[in-house]
């Protein structure tokens, strides 16, 4: 009849994200990342965290979240736009009829931003790479400030590589004529159907002459269908961030009631339609006894997976999963509460109850671990977690 486990992003060190409750080391989450990675810190600035250090991300405001992402590579050289002058090292002019000036980024001194000014002209930078047919690419930039009313395809475009562009603002599909605003990420995702040069254009007048004044930073090109956290590549090189993996608690068997309880998670996934399921799981360390919250591969699909004593739980023991009724914007922060008790399995989504099963019975054994995967080390959760709670009674639902 009480909260027995609580993870809220707070303290951390290399290889560990500290749990809050119980106040024992077993509540801490182990953590692995081979390389460094960046996050937005409490001051809104880009900060690099070294190998194995969990990233507490403040992108969404004052409340930190634990950020976990897949491996990715920024295919653009010198993405921090070092080198000074009107043109950063490794970048070229497409056209240079206006002006460009290196300025201090609103995201801190780890990177440079560039201010582009044009009066019925064209002034933009380019970088190019060669596409691999069948590969998905996402190009992205961050608009730090803008004066006037330039649109998406005035400041940012790509040429070559085939395929069809999907234009997004902060991950939401828009048209290429979307009016640009400050403080947003703009991205172009496409599946290449050709082996040819892709030219990345950023600045002003990337298609035709415009007037404007815009400051841009964080250029990135990835072979994913979505943008991930910024990767600062060196001059003359591209850069890879390793995946965040291995997030798992110690032995919590003294605190978790296997026969009944509530698992509450507030989180959002990195993408709405992941290539593979993304999961957070309470388990005995195997797939025999587990309760997983699943951000599924469908664009709005959320699923509960339950196995108990080696058997499927749902539909009279014939199915190990049940899709939640409804449509879910998985890239928004959502709260899910899962109640497990034999003959009484329910879910609440943002306090609205979704009945799953009031007839299926089960004998759950040995729940003692919380992990950001499917309990066997795969289907790692990728996104942002605000908190995870485990209660020891179904009455806490």
């Amino acid at each position: 009849m009480a909260l027995k486990y609580l993870y809220v992003p707070s303290g951390y060190k290399a290889g560990k994200a500290y749990g809050v409750l119980p106040n024992v080391s077993n509540a801490d989450l182990a953590f692995v990342r081979g390389s460094s990675g960046t996050r937005i810190n409490a001051d809104g600035l880009i900060q690099t965290e070294v190998t194995d250090v969990p990233r507490l991300d403040y992108t969404d405001g004052s409340c930190p979240t634990l950020l976990t992402e897949p491996a990715s590579t920024n295919l653009l050289h010198n993405s921090g736009w070092e080198g000074g002058g009107a043109l950063p090292t490794d970048w070229s002019y497409g056209n240079s009829d206006g002006t460009s000036t290196s300025v201090i980024s609103t995201r801190g001194t780890a990177i440079n931003a560039y201010r582009f000014q044009s009066d019925s002209a064209r002034h933009y930078f380019t970088r190019s790479t060669t596409s691999v047919s069948g590969t998905t690419y996402t190009l992205s930039i961050y608009v730090e400030s803008i004066t006037g009313s330039n649109q998406f395809n005035d400041i940012f475009y790509r040429i070559g590589g085939g395929g069809t562009d999907v234009f997004k603002k902060d991950g939401v599909v828009v048209t290429q004529s979307e009016t640009v605003v400050a403080g947003s990420f703009y991205s172009i995702t496409f599946v290449s159907d050709a082996v040819e040069s892709i030219q990345f254009r950023v600045g002003l007048g990337v298609i035709s002459s415009v007037s404007g004044d815009v400051t841009i930073s964080q250029p990135q090109l990835e072979t994913l269908a979505y943008r991930t956290s910024f990767m600062i590549s060196e001059e003359g090189a591209i850069a890879t961030r390793s995946a965040d993996t291995g997030a798992i608690s110690g032995d919590l068997s003294s605190y978790i009631n296997s026969s009944e309880g509530v698992l509450e998670i507030k989180a959002k996934s990195i993408v709405s339609n992941p290539v593979q399921d993304l999961r957070i799981t309470l388990s005995d360390g195997t797939a025999d006894n587990r309760i997983s919250l699943v951000w599924g591969t469908g664009s709005s699909t959320m699923t509960i997976v339950m196995d108990a004593n080696g058997s499927d739980v749902f539909d009279g023991g014939t199915s190990g999963f049940k899709n939640l009724t409804g449509s879910f914007t998985k890239t928004n922060m959502n709260t899910f509460k899962i109640k497990w008790k034999s003959g009484d399995i329910q879910v609440k989504h943002n306090d609205s109850t979704i009945v799953l099963s009031e007839t299926d019975t089960f004998t759950m054994l040995g729940l003692d671990k919380l992990s950001f995967d499917n309990a066997t080390g795969i289907r790692n959760f990728q996104g942002n977690v605000q908190y995870i709670k485990v209660y020891d009674s179904a009455t806490d639902f």
Partner: protein
């Protein structure tokens, strides 16, 4: 966790994929492949001999590629030999390339010159 960085030049993409899969790959119940190791493997593709050339935003000539297929790996927790040394996984050493710079690709926050295997 001991980490090392290796740079490799394989004879073809197919050969590189064979080596990568030999590190450990399994399939989940839906048939999706996933690695069973925690190394970070980055396929850089065919070696670029000449960059594409643009003039006034127009493509003048495409990139020119060589035949070597380049792969960088951030090795995590490689097996330590009895004498304390660490070697490339089986089948990789023959294709290892050691260079005196950081090269065309890096792992964030890590220097190849400090960690090269």
């Amino acid at each position: 966790m001991a980490i090392y960085i290796g740079k490799y030049a394989f004879n073809s993409k197919e050969q590189a994929i064979d080596k990568i899969e030999a590190l450990g790959v399994e399939q989940d119940e839906e048939g999706n492949s996933y690695p069973t190791h925690h190394h970070t493997v980055v396929e850089l593709g065919l070696e670029v001999l000449e960059e594409a050339v643009y003039e006034e935003g127009e493509l003048v000539s495409e990139r020119v590629f060589g035949t070597d297929y380049l792969v960088d790996v951030l090795w995590s927790d490689l097996e330590v030999e009895e004498d304390g040394s660490v070697d490339h996984p089986y089948g990789w050493k023959s294709y290892s390339v050691r260079i005196d710079t950081e090269g065309i690709h890096g792992f964030l926050g890590l220097r190849y010159q400090d960690l090269k295997i």
